[in-house]
Symmetry: D2
Subunit: 380 residues, 4 copies
Amino acid sequence: MVGYAFMGAAHSQAWRTAPRFFDLPLTPRLRVVAGRDAAAVAAAAERLGWESSTPSWRDLLTRDDVDLVDVCTPGDTHAEIAVAALAAGKHVLCEKPLANTVAEAEAMAAAASAAAERGVWASVGFTYRRVPAVQLARRLVEAGRVGQVRHVRAQYLQDWVADPQVPLSWRLDRAKAGSGALGDIGAHVVDLAQFVTGERLTGVNGILETFVRERPLPASFSGLSGAAGTGTGPVTVDDAAVFLGRLSGGGLATFEATRFAWGRKNALRLEVNGSAGSVAFDLEDMNVLHFFDAAEDPQTAGFRRIQVTEPVHPYGGHWWPPGHGLGYEHAFSHQVVDLLGDIAAGRQPEPSFADGLAVQRVLDAVERSAGAQGAWVDLP
Amino acid sequence: MVGYAFMGAAHSQAWRTAPRFFDLPLTPRLRVVAGRDAAAVAAAAERLGWESSTPSWRDLLTRDDVDLVDVCTPGDTHAEIAVAALAAGKHVLCEKPLANTVAEAEAMAAAASAAAERGVWASVGFTYRRVPAVQLARRLVEAGRVGQVRHVRAQYLQDWVADPQVPLSWRLDRAKAGSGALGDIGAHVVDLAQFVTGERLTGVNGILETFVRERPLPASFSGLSGAAGTGTGPVTVDDAAVFLGRLSGGGLATFEATRFAWGRKNALRLEVNGSAGSVAFDLEDMNVLHFFDAAEDPQTAGFRRIQVTEPVHPYGGHWWPPGHGLGYEHAFSHQVVDLLGDIAAGRQPEPSFADGLAVQRVLDAVERSAGAQGAWVDLP
Amino acid sequence: MVGYAFMGAAHSQAWRTAPRFFDLPLTPRLRVVAGRDAAAVAAAAERLGWESSTPSWRDLLTRDDVDLVDVCTPGDTHAEIAVAALAAGKHVLCEKPLANTVAEAEAMAAAASAAAERGVWASVGFTYRRVPAVQLARRLVEAGRVGQVRHVRAQYLQDWVADPQVPLSWRLDRAKAGSGALGDIGAHVVDLAQFVTGERLTGVNGILETFVRERPLPASFSGLSGAAGTGTGPVTVDDAAVFLGRLSGGGLATFEATRFAWGRKNALRLEVNGSAGSVAFDLEDMNVLHFFDAAEDPQTAGFRRIQVTEPVHPYGGHWWPPGHGLGYEHAFSHQVVDLLGDIAAGRQPEPSFADGLAVQRVLDAVERSAGAQGAWVDLP
Amino acid sequence: MVGYAFMGAAHSQAWRTAPRFFDLPLTPRLRVVAGRDAAAVAAAAERLGWESSTPSWRDLLTRDDVDLVDVCTPGDTHAEIAVAALAAGKHVLCEKPLANTVAEAEAMAAAASAAAERGVWASVGFTYRRVPAVQLARRLVEAGRVGQVRHVRAQYLQDWVADPQVPLSWRLDRAKAGSGALGDIGAHVVDLAQFVTGERLTGVNGILETFVRERPLPASFSGLSGAAGTGTGPVTVDDAAVFLGRLSGGGLATFEATRFAWGRKNALRLEVNGSAGSVAFDLEDMNVLHFFDAAEDPQTAGFRRIQVTEPVHPYGGHWWPPGHGLGYEHAFSHQVVDLLGDIAAGRQPEPSFADGLAVQRVLDAVERSAGAQGAWVDLP
């Protein structure tokens, strides 16, 4: 694994936990974690349960006992690491967004495609696909219970920088993060919209905004691109993104990603309205899917609040009894389960780097639209 | 009153009821209702409690005992009736949208402005402003509890034509209705967004869509523009509208109006996120306002579910004890209360025809944007 | 009508409004309202829309133009007025609770039974039965969609005297009100539990409590039983009642009625769990019924949030389009509709005085149990 | 650890996970798991991450490398194992309910008390105390934000045996489980009611019911007490329990525990209404606490939906960013954190065996009341 911050902790927990609850065809061993600061990464290895650590991610590529490289670093380093790892014959799980630019993502998708021919697989970590309620939404769409998609309504609302006194960090730095709310959380809802509907966006237009353009510098902050004064530094990414889209099936989509929605802590919401019904999901109530079946007798029709914790549900029966909810991290365990299952079976894991590239193209199109006063941008 | 269908019934109930619960400076008398079909309007007068009826709305203009004309007809007749009534010295309450075109709305606003100089007042019926929870949202914004507005998230979701077998009606006919979801329900959320924030939209871009373009003709249907076959006729308005906007204070707004959201019966939702807090409203739970105060201690901060039924609340103490909810029609009674209060005081009622024109301009800009592949359209 | 306070206003609104929205077989005329204070009742008649007023309710009994007497006074006067009115050949609608004692209620039920033989009908105003969602719950139970009843969970939670500075009023005076939370709001949930399940309680045990035993006297307060000091007076009724019950079908019921649940303004909640499903209702969201169907595929099973505003729903199609909610007062209009329909058809309106007596017996049994340290009390 | 079924899996996950996210003063080592079936327990050890296994729990008592015994077996074995382990100088964590009888619980509490003098500690696993939202409720009560407790409203609703075709299992067998819904889930709400209020129940009365008295025997079922026919066997525990209680501070409490509430999967609900406010919790939305502050300005007062995921919240800042919810199992990790903290500090962990005994006495009192037709039973 490369990187050991928030995402590294979530991935480590998944690698440790998945084999305890699922019968896996392959058994993960947490061999080595890489990070630039040798002392820090050694401490992280101890805390997160890795057998060893190294200050150089390149060490992972030459180790025989490493079969898979899990990339949990900021987006600016994804392309270099993932391409090298694939070239070295390692399977790759890469955190989202796939890259900070479309060019990088294209290179990565090409590398993944070449590697696949050698039986080396790559997948991108749009983990929210693995929330059972999201999987159930996909199942219902696939089974025709939603019908032809008319509307997607997708929001990812947070508030962690709504206070202008929140200091700068790498997520607010374009050089590191590529973009702000758009790439960090907007990427998730774009992927989920495409995943749940099984369709692609064919075009978008949108607006980006940075509400607070200068923020205090943290004492230890060193990653800022460009010089900064002693007190504050510039925010170089978007605080919020709003955009519209067309789906390949003709439906309309609205998207919103923001870090300025006071009181909304992690409100990833996705609603799909089709010709036969609707599904609605909110990550703040993540064990629940709401489903409206238009075929139901009008007298008793209504959104059903489905607790997606039954044995018949996706990933069901492996954790706790019905009604005993899962948390944020479980989606990462499910990612491990699915990924190892696919690798063992010799089939392409989903989402592929091509899926990640598709999302990257949407993000790029939104940025180009925003730069052209919201003009429409077609997607390939 | 002119017109006696859905809106006519709601207005009649309000004229009858408001004086029973509020001390009004003027006492409404339900003198006469006008409608083209003499027998039908006579029956409606009896049912709705009007003293008399007439097949010609022009009769109202010459009656000395008529002080106010309440226009509840489809949008294509608003301009003619309202302008004539104002010219005849009658106060006018006109249902929304103000008109079917900007040109008509401009003429109406000009007529209203001229009439105002003579102490004759005009107001447009954006009734949802009078829902207590919406008024409370406005109060909180005005009092600075929300701060500088960052986001408006406005949706009006219905499903009454999601079934393609729903037959044609005047609301699906451009000649009568002007537009579809955009003007019928989108107009409401545009007005509410501007009302609650106290700001104006400075530009928009958007998409319109008609998902079902041919529908069965009802047996008795006669209002369709253009010839129609025996079986089906064309839908000439939008089924759904999605658009983005900028607020005068720099905030971002997303709008969605649709009649194709299965399971959402009358889901008018408005959320405003500002620098100091957030308010959220859903008409499907209309006695409640959700409010997040960013100044609150993080340990106990959370959206408050305010039941807007206390005596201290807008229109509070006039109906029932706390917790005893109001319904859809009560907003119309509040409209009567406010309108008569303003007329008695000799001041401009709100929303004025100028406010109605502002909404009409937004709707027109959305249509122009939709016609230009979603290009940005500035608003004056 | 006798009485013109909160309940008188609600009843008047219903008498005025019902014929505007429903085709009634009889047309209500608001002839005369009675109240002890001649000036006050005259003003109320004007405000509430009654043709005349009188300081003596006995006047109503001798007027030929009065066919029905609507009793909206405190409970201590119900028996005398209702029995006299029935004897005078007037139909009677009497507010709940039917009486302040079982003996009074028995006398009333006997009088009603005798009157019924003469085609003179009596009904008691358990108005919440007329909320569409409650009617739908009853329909679903009747249709077997809930199955054999296992549990009733009934609560009526308010907070209007949770503040000990709230002054005394007639509702806190045993001589006037008979009991406190038990008879005022507990009566409603007892009736609803029996109505929705179609069963009777066969026994109960419970506890009553008065948390605040002395309260400030209001300046104008005169109705207090027993002497009171200048500053405060005794609360002579229960503040809260909790009790258990057995249903005739073998199910278990829990009840709670309190005026001390801070933040719960008017939370009448009823949930029924049966062998085939569950229904749940909360008056704070009164246009909604939640329904769980145990026969549903587990993959999509969940409580359905039914907006009870469709034309197929009870009282549907008479008011506004789907999703346009009704308020507290609409149940009173439905009561008028049902009552006049039954009188015109010459059939016993429900709930009858016998139903009211059944509730009274439950309340009495709870009081006796509470007086015997919660011992079980069988019901006939 | 003794036992490796549902609870054993949850405890193992906690022992493995807690040290990854919290700085612990002691480092847990998963030395050995015991179970009667040698092959099965060996497999469980492998799956759950234990270093070794044994068919005899007594082996744990003689191993020097075992400092703490975690008892996850059915209730009939708790007393023997726990008392022996404490006598052997091992700290004990024992699943709830503490025992199947008061006599056993008393013996355990006595053993714990004796052990405590030697610095050997015992705690009972009322794990729901460790849900952050429950801890926050306790904090608010302790801080006086709820005031004098007037009402506790506690329910634990499940539906897993509502279908009469669900076969027998040890949880339906009195000899193994002691009681049914009462001891399994009712015990939780009794403990939480006492924990959150900081008060004890001083008396109760209640009813128990077994709705389905015969059930199919599973093919492999062997634990049933008494002989059983080939097809079905008797259910010897309660399916549901309802009871009332008095709190030591004078408040009223209602309790309900049932496995027959169709659609309620794991609805542990606790609401406390006090003189200064209210708190409400529902395990089906476990990351949220609702709080009403009676001191709030009535204009903006309402239940706050607090997402208990902030760094300032109980156990906050150790897992994921705000809004990223925890699941069922995290409470078990928090139990490990608290228990090891207390052991390291040499202080009595909570809940103690004395707390567990207090719960057991309540359960016993409910059973005695139910056996005496709901008569009141005082608690010491």
